[in-house]
Amino acid sequence: MTAFKGGLHPPYYKEATREREIRPAALPKLVRLPLQQHIGAPAKSVVEVGQHVKRGQLIAEAGGYVSAAVHASVSGKVTAIRPLPHPFGSKLPAIEIESDTWDTPLEETVSIGDVESLTPDQIIEAVHRAGIVGMGGAAFPTHVKLKPPKGVTIHTLILNGAECEPYLTCDFRVMIERPDDVVAGARLLQKAVSAKRIVIGIEANKEEAIETMSEAAGDFSDIAVESVEVKYPQGSELQLIKALAGIELPKSKLPLEAGFVVQNVVTALAVFEAVTKGKPLYERVVTVSGDGVKEPGNFLVRLGTSFGELLEQAGAVAEDAAKVIMGGPMMGLAQHTYEVPVIKGTSGIVVFREEEVEIAEALACIRCARCETRCPAGLATARIGLAAEFGKFEIAEALKVMECIECGCCSYVCPSKRPMTHYMKAAKAEIMRKRQREKAASGE
């Protein structure tokens, strides 16, 4: 299969952490668990201030179908439920728990029974109950992805191990250290959607992971481990489907509708632990890297741990640390404070030093079309950028800006240092607002 058109080869900077074994981060003294850690409706708190909770205890239930439950990541006392700094930018409601340092687990009362005899619905129910969301970064509730619309049969479960974002190695480490559990999780997911086969896509430069995963999948004839071209953004869902199945899906179509379910390898691990051990999603692997971090590494972190507390364990940040990114440098979110917590979608924390932070003045577009040749979505990005710059959002809409996957390639290559991706996001947000206004006006 050929890869998607466009894309690029940014420096990967994975050397700093690819050999670092996953190690548990120290138990945080305080966790702040936002009710919104996923795409969809925020969860609803079911605890009260002053209440004592145990590790793994449900503290907020899903706030709708597209939503996910939140569980306590330490045992201790709920000290506050109020808006607190959130990686998405502003303050959002969160439950604050002060650890009692005992880390008492909740007695698991749900009997799993024989894993082999579980029905698809039981698996989906367990995933739902554990509050699992896509852990590649998008954080879309996993149980929703496991329920195809009526009349659609899922043929392929794609396991995403591409990990194309620079710096990040958490997926890689999980594939190296826990390949059997990842495959077991994948089999549960496969069963949940009754897929005929599993394809595991891994970028060709991760030879070790391809090896360990192939070994783990060795016994099963319906699992294929495929090496895919090293090219950013190969790990984007639609681009990965193209590479593995040769089919180009528009962004307006859900992969589900075409018979594909795509899940990240770390999500598969979480599914394995939720279904077989009844373990809710209260911790995750986080890569901490970047020149601003003294001792980069991969950590198993309790959700709600503040960036600051985790960074201390990576040898603290350099004196001139100037930018803190949740996720990788291509699609990650820059943070304004170290107080924000690790959430379900936090695949990494990358810290840049002052010299790496580029604040370039944007110049006029010279129509070099580098952005358009690199756009994996095949968009007329230069023209959309101009339309958005001058507030002509209806032109941006006509030019299909809604198909943009926000991968960042356009900004990356622009010689005039234009904030191309930002223009795309701004246009998309504006169009969404307009559509909502129209919907409201039409009386729905």
Binding site: E248, P329, R383
Partner: protein
């Protein structure tokens, strides 16, 4: 962790090296071999014209930016230098320095800044300036001069070019190769005689022929073009389509034979190599038509654009009043760019799904 101020900005958080100014500098570097060629063939006159043109371009750019209350960036200034050099390249070395100054100033002030400055101009500023000077000072612009070496040869053995034996060495009645063809056909001179008066392919390739200051040496221009291709500043689509269609069309329609003393078209007997090497085809195809701001954005659009340039050049050269048509062809195709862009959009990922 002490809360030092952190930088917050939209993703992505790092970018490729390279800048617009770097692109312009690459173009300047790529034009240097041909500039040296201009000096070799036309001596110090060439340097005077280039210097006057570049200085005027940069000063006009600064003036216009100030009038428009914009900050002068490295990108603006380096792009003005490119315009200055290109304008000098497509005028004669004998042009008085003020002619080059006028052309440059017109290109930058009118063709570039009246449309919004760098990135917003419809026409290639250098070409617009050239066309302005051409029409305002047609006499000065068509006083072609032979190269330094041609002059020396003639002084040694005037009989080599019998039809030019009487030509004054200062070149008043000197004609470019394309001019010789046009004149010869118009005067219904025998084909063999016209052909005899033309320089060899080698001379054309090296650039030891009369013409505009920087256009004569295909060799030196190609050296620069190779650099631009290697640096990926330009792609091959436009030059390929331009020169390819020019070669094809002049081969098909460019042949002439005499029927009862009248020149008639002789299909499939044209001289494509001559048409590609003579005049400003190589300069235009690699350095003018490829100007990003004034050319299409997709490979398909670039091929259409290049083909249009080649076709219009052919029409002007074979049937038009001027011996040369490269600058007009690019100028006319510049007008078509928005339309070409509109009909050659990039292919949307997933557009074929369900079809």
């Amino acid at each position: 962790m002490e809360n030092r101020l952190l930088v917050v900005s939209s993703s992505p958080h790092f970018r490729a090296k390279g800048s617009t100014a770097r692109i312009m500098c690459d173009v300047i570097v790529a034009l240097l071999p041909a500039a040296v060629g201009g000096w070799i063939f036309f001596r110090n006159r060439a340097l005077v014209v280039i210097a006057a043109s570049v200085a005027a371009a940069v000063l006009t750019e600064l003036l216009m930016l100030r009038m428009r209350k914009r900050k002068a960036t490295a990108a603006d200034l380096t792009s003005a230098v490119v315009t200055g050099i290109l304008l000098a390249f497509c005028v004669t070395a004998t042009l008085p320095w003020w002619g080059a100054v006028l052309g440059s100033a017109f290109g930058i002030a009118i063709a570039k800044h009246c449309f919004g400055g760098l990135g917003f101009n419809i026409f290639n500023p250098a070409l617009a300036g050239r066309i302005f000077v051409m029409h305002a000072y047609i006499v000065q612009m068509t006083l072609w001069s032979p190269t330094y070496y041609e002059k020396q040869e003639r002084e040694k053995s005037p009989a080599v070019h019998p039809e030019e034996a009487t030509a004054q060495v200062d070149g008043e009645t000197y004609a470019t190769p394309l001019g010789k063809v046009k004149e010869g056909v118009q005067q219904k001179r025998p084909i063999e005689e016209i052909e005899r008066s033309l320089p060899s392919y080698w001379r054309l390739f090296v650039g030891n022929v009369g013409g505009c200051l920087g256009e004569t040496s295909a060799l030196l221009l190609l050296v620069g073009a190779a650099y631009l291709l290697m640096r990926r500043v330009i792609s091959i689509y436009i030059p390929l389509a331009f020169l390819g269609s020019l070669a094809l069309l002049t081969w098909v329609f460019g042949g002439i034979h005499m029927v009862a003393g009248e020149p008639r078209m002789y299909l499939f007997h044209g001289d494509p190599l001559f048409h590609v090497l003579a005049g400003g085809a190589v300069l235009g195809a690699f350095f003018m038509a490829t100007d990003m701001v004034t050319s299409p954005m997709t490979p398909k659009g670039m091929l259409i654009f290049g083909f249009g340039c080649g076709a219009i050049t052919t029409i002007i050269r074979l049937w038009g009043g001027y011996p040369e048509g490269v600058s007009y062809s690019i100028f006319l195709m510049n007008i078509c760019v928005p339309l070409i862009d509109r009909f050659t959009m990039p292919k949307l990922f997933g557009a074929n799904f369900g079809k």
